[in-house]
Amino acid sequence: MTENITLTIDGQQVSVEQGTTLLKAAQEIGKDIPTICFHEATTSNALCRICVVEVEGQRLLQPACIVKAAPDMKVQTRSERVMRARKTILEMLASTMDLSDAPAILTMMDEYGARAERFPDAERREVEVKDDNPMYVRDYSKCLLCWRCVQVCASDAQYTFAINFNGRGYETQIGTFFDKSIPETTCVLCGQCVAVCPTGALKPKREFLLEQGMSPNEISVMNTGRKRRKT
């Protein structure tokens, strides 16, 4: 049934099944294309654009996470344009948000020679930590808007629809209906949003408290929704 497609990635020929994305095709020959918003479990929206590659004959760079391999395609994963776009996106991210809990992105920055201080005097997205429920803490200063939490809360997994977006453009932020606290929303505390968050913007309450210097015993006393196992 499935036909194989042969294409060239960085001068190297590769044969893949029809329907394979460029991201997967590159992985097959051991070429890593960086990703941020991409997650196996969520719908790919191709919005971080860090995975862009140069495809011969295309005016614009193409997101490897969704563009499918086609016969005789010629792909460059590290051309000058690609490198400039990736580096600039990373530098803009660093000037926008707190990446301290996103080691994968910090590593990426080193790899691409992206400088965190590239944009001086840039307005940052800084928000107070929202600690309003027993299960997780929301620190949107660390949010890079990958959309995964909104997706798993909605039709990618849980169908809970507790969160959506506030504002738009640079001012976009994850939010609830009229900024209500999590217990006041339809949230069922399933924790899937926390699981898919790449930057520590959503963090289990316990982890958060441990980081704040509290001991496991102190935390247990707080009754954070976690029941102590019976001995």
Partner: protein, 640 residues
């Protein structure tokens, strides 16, 4: 205000809401924007209980409803004044002292832009382009257009905006310039009648043969679009008229829809027949509320005459303040009741459009060409214009020309011709630059005056035709201020979905602000270019891909404007400017007392400020072909 809305009388008042949104309930989520508009009409803003009730009625999750309200700037989830004045501060109006108008109004009422008066009667906001550029400075007072605002003699027009139409052709604009054309005056839909007597594929072939390409900016061949939609699998199929005209400097669709709605409707009906569609939408930008009654009336005339019926009918959808919704896939999302996020393409609208169904989406002007093509045949149509750019074209001429307005010409006239048609330069000044194609366009200078206005010639000159914007700047303007406003526009209008545009438009704005203020930092030019190229190369949709287009063209034309040294030396000059600006404010304040209520309903003397300023074409500029670019820019810098 909020007190009354959350009081016990709420349940009684929610009954009013129910009857107002009842008709949208069968639409489900797709009814969300119309329902929110209806609710806001009752309460003035969208409070939590009102939003919750809308959500419940339409079965849309609460968080999603909130997300939608937050996305569109014309929806408010905080109390606003009973009356809202939105003063356009985009480019064409800025040239006519829109900032002065805004500050004057605000200081008169003792508030800052974006604030509401204490008594809750009035909110004043700065607004992106309102599509009234040829009658600048302009504002939107609730549902009425306020045009040619003149602080000196306290005159302005209020209500339905006038249409100023000219040019060497009157085909698309045949019925424009003297009020809304009734069906009686428009006459029978002869082209539709003819089309319905033809085979569907023949109608498509005729449009293909005409060489018509989209007039919204992307210039995609219309016939190919239709053919793709006709052949696509999936039913029903839709026809959408993209009337979300929001490109700064563009106002052609406003004139066409307001003055000659039947031409658009006939074009849509022909498209509907060609692809066997039964449903059309006109997605009208929220800043054109005064067009709705004219359009609704025309639709009902067309229904009564039997042109629209159960085989094909059209629904109006009103946007709510989002430039991005002019992007076709974002427009679909908006019709579906969602935030206007553009989708990744492919799939393209021809196969996966609104509601995931095959969809034709065409710009207003494009559709207005269709009756012309069908009635006279593509061969006759092709005699207009050039071989590669056939047909008539509308240009929105604004800025420092003597007679700004909508000009219809055949493709192939030169930029100089067009400016001459528009009365030449105003006030005897020389031309410094032309913003071509809108905010997403590029700058031209006097060296481009003899470029022919065709797709092929413009492409060769590196200028985009875009939506037909020709915004003219004389030498007295500081182009850095122009760039600053462009930067602000895109930062305000980015949807926030893809990273290059979401953060790039913000960083671009910050750097352009520094340049305009004379505070450039070492490396800003490189930053600006890296951000610009990254947006152009890697953004998800056309907004991000063109958000740096004008800036990058300015860097090429006026490199010295982006030099740190020069920009710093301008600081002194800028300090002077501030003093002048302050003096202006003082003057304005002094005037306030004598000025009566600016917002009074009465339509005051509509005398436009046209002091018949030197109509004479500035022969110096129009004739002199090449002015060394550098001197032009330097001169402007010095003047400031």
């Amino acid at each position: 205000m909020s007190d009354t809305d959350t009081s016990p009388s709420l349940s009684a008042s929610l009954a009013t809401l129910h009857s107002a949104i009842e008709q949208y309930i069968p639409l489900g989520r797709s009814g969300l924007l119309p329902a929110l508009h209806a609710a806001q009409k009752i309460y003035g803003w969208l409070s939590e209980p009102v939003a919750a009730e809308v959500a419940k009625s339409l079965h849309v999750p609460l968080a999603d409803v909130h997300g939608v309200i937050e996305f569109y700037t014309l929806f408010y989830n905080k109390p606003v004044g009973k009356r809202i004045i939105r003063v356009c501060t985009d480019q064409a109006c800025a040239l006519k002292d829109a900032d002065g108008v805004l500050h004057h109004l605000c200081s008169h009422h003792g508030i800052e832009p974006g604030q509401t008066t204490r008594d809750g009667t009035l909110t004043i906001e700065a607004s992106p382009c309102l599509g009234l550029c040829e009658q600048a400075p302009a504002a939107l007072v609730d549902d009425q257009a306020e045009t040619n605002i003149n602080l000196k003699n306290d005159s302005y027009g209020l209500g339905r905006p006038r249409s100023i139409v000219g040019g060497s052709l009157r085909l698309l604009t045949a019925n424009c310039g003297s009020g809304t054309t009734s069906l009686e005056k428009y006459g029978e839909y002869a082209a539709l009648k003819k089309a319905r007597g033809m085979k569907r594929e023949d109608v498509i072939n005729e449009v293909k043969a005409s060489g018509l390409v989209g007039r919204g900016g992307a210039a995609f061949p219309t016939g190919i679009k239709w053919e793709g939609t006709a052949k696509a699998e999936g039913n029903p199929k839709y026809v959408i008229c993209n009337a979300d005209e929001s490109e700064p400097g563009t106002f052609k669709d406003r004139v066409l829809l307001l003055d000659d709605p039947h031409r658009v409707i006939e074009g849509m009906a022909i498209a509907g027949y060609a692809i066997d569609s039964h449903k059309g939408y006109i997605y009208l930008r929220g800043e054109y509320p005064y067009i709705v009654p004219a359009l609704e009336n025309a639709l009902s005339e067309a229904r009564q005459a039997g042109y629209l019926n159960e085989d094909f009918d059209i629904e109006i959808r009103l946007g709510a303040g989002a430039y991005i919704c002019g992007e076709e896939t974002a427009l679909f999302e908006s019709i579906e009741g969602k935030r206007g996020f553009p989708r990744v393409k492919p799939p393209f609208p021809t196969t996966f459009g609104v509601f995931g169904k095959p969809t034709i989406i065409n710009n207003v002007e494009t559709l207005c060409n269709v009756p012309l093509i069908i009635s006279q045949g593509s061969a006759v149509y092709r005699q207009i214009g050039t071989e590669k750019s056939p047909g008539p074209k509308l240009f929105c001429v604004s800025g420092d020309v003597a007679k700004p307005g909508l000009y219809e010409v055949a493709f192939g006239v030169t930029l100089r011709d067009l400016i001459v048609m528009a009365g030449g330069m105003a006030n005897g000044q020389s031309m410094q630059a032309v913003l071509f194609g809108g905010a997403a366009g590029a700058f031209a200078t006097s060296v481009h005056l003899d470029v022919k206005l065709t797709f092929e010639d413009l492409r060769a000159a590196g200028l985009p035709l875009g939506s037909g914007v020709v915004m003219v700047f004389d030498e007295t303007h500081d182009m850095r201020d122009v760039l600053k406003r462009l930067g602000h526009f895109f930062a305000h209008e980015s949807c926030g979905k893809c990273y290059p545009c979401q953060m790039g438009t913000q960083r671009q704005m910050e750097i352009l602000n520094r340049i305009a203020a004379g505070n450039m930092i070492e490396g800003d030019l490189q930053r600006l270019q890296d951000v610009g190229w990254t947006m152009m190369d890697a953004s998800l949709c056309g907004l991000g891909q063109t958000a740096a287009s004008a800036v990058l063209s300015a860097i090429k034309l006026w490199p010295e404007m982006f030099e740190v040294r020069k920009s710093k030396s301008l600081k002194v000059v800028n300090a002077k400017k501030k003093v002048v600006a302050k003096a202006k404010v003082v003057k304005a304040k002094a005037k306030t007392k004598s000025v009566k209520k600016k917002t009074s309903k009465a339509v005051k003397s509509k005398k436009k400020s046209a002091k018949s300023k030197s109509k004479a074409v500035n022969s110096k500029v129009i004739k002199s072909k090449s002015k060394p670019k550098k001197t032009v820019a330097r001169k402007s810098a010095k003047r400031k």
